[in-house]
């Protein structure tokens, strides 16, 4: 097994691994500072912040011979016998000098800089810089330039790591950003008339190690140290990117990508990044209401409602439930189970799946899926489990037209208008119509019981993306007053004790539905692929436990 030596400590490597100095040192908890390197981009080695001393150990004699020059750790592949020294005086001097160089023309405007608090230059300067500024040249001018795509560039803050330029060339493939001029006059710019305009442009803000590229959506709205971040999943499309939802006091301020090598790597698209305002929209339905005669609605309160609903459903007769692809699998399962518990013949159908345009695939392999919902696969499997086929809303509408169904529970949660008058009219034929949704629609007008739905940061549970990759999240913010998340309500309706516990439901689901079998144990942060389990099935339907 290859063994590298970093700061005198041995690191065992797998023989198939190809780590650079930064990654290898991180394994041992040694941090090597860097600006220009990024695991998802090509290596240019230009910031010179990751300079280390490097050498090799002779496997026979054990003698270590060091290179006379400093090498960038980002471009040093660690192999058997590689020796890195990351803390020597020589290295520290080089780092301090790079820090001093970077601060020569950098405006020290941290108090008004959006990046302050999460700025690599700031952090590294405290850690590796020197206390005194010796340069007394060249005042700064705070120039700001719009580069398009909702991104603004603070020219003087730039440290020329060129990450953003490489991103637009390698990942988005649109190459809008470039470096103009030379030497100390260098700047990031776009060609006049060709602004930054691609659906991944928001990532350049995350890539920027300093406050040069700022997102106008977030600029001057919050100081980052007031934000708390929670693991989330983007509900924008069936790719299901891992995200960080950053909130302050139950208000979401921004969404950032969360590294997930199996789904989205380091990126998310702008559609997902700027998708949060609907959570705080004042159009949202913010409390339960009842309109027994289809006329005036009357506000209800949650104390009596579950009992009342339960009674109504039990009296309604033949039931049906519409599971929207925005529900988590736990919520969908609880609803299906509950409705089937009252009426064993109840129809369980999949709600409409929003399809917009075509898949958008970028050169860096990032894909925005055509299905604009997070959980079609998961709901499909639950529907198929109860109905032995994937029944859809149209099946239910036909049944309603034939008068076969009396009570319908529609779990919506759609962000966009999703149902037209005609379909709403047909659904309205049901004697009892329970509608749970985020925004008013033709359907909510016809609802006997109108229940508010939770928005995605308020939900807890799991989604399955279109490649059968299941990810679980906890809620990021508390729902607004008056909104009770589906999971919590259904948990109570199902007569379970205590608080809603998504993990318990998922475990139950895993034991009942073969598709979800792999989700029985704890779910890792990056999620797990359920297909592994599918492949382990034998043709005769006998299940084998999968790893």
């Amino acid at each position: 097994m290859p063994i590298a030596i970093i700061d005198g400590r041995e690191l065992e490597l797998r023989s198939d691994e190809r780590l650079n100095g930064i990654e290898a040192a991180a394994r041992l908890g040694i941090s090597i500072p860097y600006y220009c390197w990024h695991p998802g981009l090509s290596v240019v080695g230009s910031c010179r912040m990751c300079l280390v001393e490097s050498g090799t150990r002779d496997p026979k004699t054990g003698k270590v011979s060091m290179l006379p020059k400093l090498v960038p750790a980002c471009n040093t592949i660690v192999r058997d016998g590689t020796v890195l020294v990351t803390q020597s005086e020589k290295v520290q001097r080089a780092r301090a000098m790079v820090e001093e160089d970077l601060l020569l023309r950098h405006p020290i405007d941290c108090p008004i800089c959006d990046k302050a608090g999460e700025c690599q230059l700031q952090d590294y300067y405290f850690r590796y810089g020197q206390a005194q500024r010796r340069a007394d040249l060249r005042p700064f001018t705070s120039r700001r330039r719009d580069v398009g795509g909702g991104i603004t560039l603070f020219v003087d803050r730039c440290v020329m790591c060129s990450r953003c330029v490489r991103f637009t060339r390698e990942i988005s493939g649109t190459a809008e950003l470039m470096v103009v001029d030379r030497a100390a006059h260098e700047e990031i710019d776009v060609l006049p008339g060709f602004p930054l305009a691609n659906k991944l442009s928001g990532n350049v803000v995350d890539l920027c190690p300093v406050g040069a590229l700022c997102d106008k959506d977030f600029l001057y709205r919050q100081r980052v140290w007031f934000l708390r971040r929670h693991a989330g999943i983007c509900i924008g499309c069936a790719t299901g990117c891992s995200t960080w939802i950053e909130e302050n006091q139950d208000r979401v301020w921004r969404i950032k990508p969360r590294e997930n090598p199996q789904v989205n790597k380091w990126w998310i698209c702008n559609d997902g990044r700027y998708d949060y305002p609907h959570v705080h929209s004042d159009r949202r339905i913010l409390g339960p209401a009842a309109a027994p005669c289809g006329g005036q609605t009357a506000d209800l309160d949650w104390t009596r409602l579950p009992k009342e609903l339960d009674e109504q459903l039990r009296q309604a007769g033949r039931l049906a439930a519409v599971l929207s692809p925005f529900l988590t699998v736990e919520e969908a399962y609880l609803l299906a189970r509950y409705v089937r518990g009252i009426d064993p013949q109840a129809q369980i159908v999949l709600g409409p799946v929003p399809i917009v345009g075509q898949d958008e695939r970028f050169p860096g392999s990032f894909t925005i899926a055509v299905e604009k919902c997070p959980n079609r696969r998961g709901i499909e499997e639950i529907v198929a489990h109860f109905m032995h086929r994937v029944a859809t809303l149209d099946d239910l509408l036909d049944a309603l037209d034939r008068g076969e169904v009396r009570g319908v529970w529609v779990a919506g949660g759609y962000r966009e208008p999703w149902i037209d008058e005609a379909k709403a009219e047909r659904l309205g034929q049901a004697a009892l119509l329970v509608v749970q949704d985020l925004f008013p629609s033709p359907l909510t007008e016809r609802a006997g019981y109108l229940l508010p739905a939770a928005a995605f940061p308020e939900r807890e549970g799991s989604y399955v993306n279109r490649h059968d990759h299941l990810q679980s999240v906890r809620r990021a913010i508390r729902p607004p007053m008056g909104v009770r998340p589906e999971g919590s309500l259904l948990w109570e309706l199902a007569g379970r004790q205590g608080l809603y516990h998504a993990q318990a439901v998922l475990t139950e689901l895993a034991s009942e539905i073969p598709y979800f079998r792999a989700a029985a144990g704890p779910i890792p942060d990056v999620g797990l692929n359920l297909k592994v389990n599918l492949l382990a099935q034998t043709p005769d339907g006998v299940q084998h436990a999968s790893v």
């Binding site: 240019v44 400093l70 060249r138 700001r144 030379r182």
Partner: protein, 466 residues
């Protein structure tokens, strides 16, 4: 110096020396015909390796060794890049060869491509050499007509296309990976190594980058033999085991304060003083030399007391300079101010830094800013220490940047301060009598070094609205 018969410049004084007819009349392409008939590519590489020919472009890397790094039996294309982006201040030997003897250069290219199995050669030509461009292009056209270029050259199983690419006047394009990037149509930011160009170069294919003068030497090694080549120059220094010695003829470019500036040929290892006296006819106006740049601005300075330094690849290093560089000597007479020299040097490198690596991008600009202040009479004695430290951090400590540009920027600073400290201190004391000892920060300068041909910082559209 014993009587020396010029080799590289043997043709240049003939009338119409740039034409194929004159070149062939003087025995041109004789070596190519013989080599194609008698030698295999491997034998050519062996001969060049045995000659210890070192690159004439500045770094002095052994050419044969460089060729041998090419992957053996590579199935696809191999490219030859001819580095004719001669932009080191004080250097013009390639220009003389390309303008007055382009066929000699082409023969060297042909032989080197034969040795390295390259089928395409790109001549990366400096834009400021229009005559070189016309003459070299005319020579290439002549060669195509005479079947010295193109398919199956002279009936042998060897084909070569030569294309001239004119650069856009950036110093950094003379760095081999910067040249490759520029040739690929990108911004000339030198690439980080490894991978080296011999493994992954132009269009990600194995590539050899050689200087014009180096290639011209290849012809003569194959023509006159390795023994002839090694009969002149300096043998390896026993104190430096890594030194392969400095052999062969060399073009010395002499400029500055001499009576007869120009490009002269001699064996490697001539003492600096002899080059100035014999070729240049001594320092002009009967003055004495104060300092000499031994090999292009980036190599630093030899003081007047060091003029016996032999100009081979090891000599200037022993005298505390970066190296021989391109052997472009710039003579400064005793009246010339070191502050002016240093300011000019810093201005050049601050302008030409490609801006990729932090230490070079910022360090060159910082040094220039300090020099401007010193020149304007606001210098302090402690500035010299800081300048030395900047030089140290951008180039003297090896490996702090990707390419050698920063080293070149650092050595003139280091040499000037080391060897002429007294003069610089005297200047600072004289021009800033009130403040030369002040230790507090000096009020910042207006950024006047925004560069002559850079747009000013206020001329750009500025968006201040969200």
């Amino acid at each position: 110096m014993p009587q020396y018969e010029p080799v590289l410049l043997a043709n240049v004084c003939k009338e119409n020396s740039h034409t194929l007819a004159v070149y062939q009349a003087g025995g041109g392409y004789r070596t190519l015909r013989r080599v194609l008939k008698e030698m295999t590519p491997a034998e050519v590489v062996t001969a060049v390796r045995a000659s210890n020919l070192r690159g004439r472009g500045g770094a002095g890397f052994p050419t044969g060794l460089k060729w041998s790094f090419l992957p053996a039996g590579h199935p696809g294309s191999i490219y030859m890049c001819v580095n004719a982006d001669e932009s080191e201040p004080g250097t013009f030997s390639n220009r003389v060869l390309m303008e007055l003897d382009p066929h000699q250069v082409l023969e060297g290219i042909l032989l080197s491509c034969y040795a390295t199995r390259a089928t395409t050669a790109y001549v990366y030509l400096r834009y400021e050499y229009p005559v070189s461009y016309r003459r070299l292009q005319a020579a290439i056209d002549e060669c195509y007509r005479a079947n010295l270029l193109g398919k199956n050259i002279l009936g042998h199983d060897f084909s070569l296309d030569v294309t001239i690419h004119r650069g856009a006047a950036a110093y950094v394009c003379g760095e081999e990976t910067g040249l490759i990037e520029s040739l690929e149509g990108k911004r000339a930011w030198p690439r980080i190594k490894p991978p080296f160009p011999a493994v992954e170069g132009l269009f990600r294919k194995p590539t050899v980058v050689n200087n014009v003068e180096t290639l011209a030497c290849v012809t003569h090694i194959l023509d006159r033999g390795v023994e002839w080549f090694k009969s002149m120059g300096t043998p390896p220094d026993p104190d430096y085991p890594a030194d392969p010695g400095s052999f062969g003829p060399k073009l010395y470019c002499l400029s500055g304060h001499v009576n007869r500036p120009g490009c002269y040929e001699g064996p490697l290892g001539l003492p600096c003083r002899e080059v100035i006296e014999r070729f240049g006819g001594g320092v002009w106006k009967g003055r004495k030399a104060k300092a000499v740049v031994p090999g292009g601005l980036s190599t630093g300075l030899l003081a007047a007391s060091e003029l016996e330094t032999p100009l081979d690849f090891a000599g200037p290093i022993r005298a505390g300079c970066l190296g021989l560089g391109t052997a472009g000597l710039i003579v400064l007479d005793e009246t010339y101010s070191m502050v002016d020299f240093l300011h000019n040097s810093c201005r050049f490198f601050a302008h030409e830094s490609c801006g990729q690596c932090t230490p070079c991008r910022e360090g060159t600009g910082w040094a220039l800013g300090m020099l401007e202040r010193i020149k304007a009479g606001r210098g302090r004695l402690e500035d010299l220490e800081l300048l030395l430290e900047i030089a140290e951090s951008i180039g003297i400590i090896p490996g702090t940047t990707i390419c050698g540009l920063a080293d070149g920027a650092a050595w003139p600073i280091k040499n000037a301060i080391q060897k002429f400290r007294g003069e610089l201190e005297e200047y600072i004391r004289r021009t800033n009598p009130a403040g030369y000892m002040v230790a507090e920060p000096v009020p910042a300068l207006i950024p006047s070094h925004n560069g002559g041909n850079h747009r000013s910082s206020t001329a750009r559209p500025v968006s201040i609205t969200r």
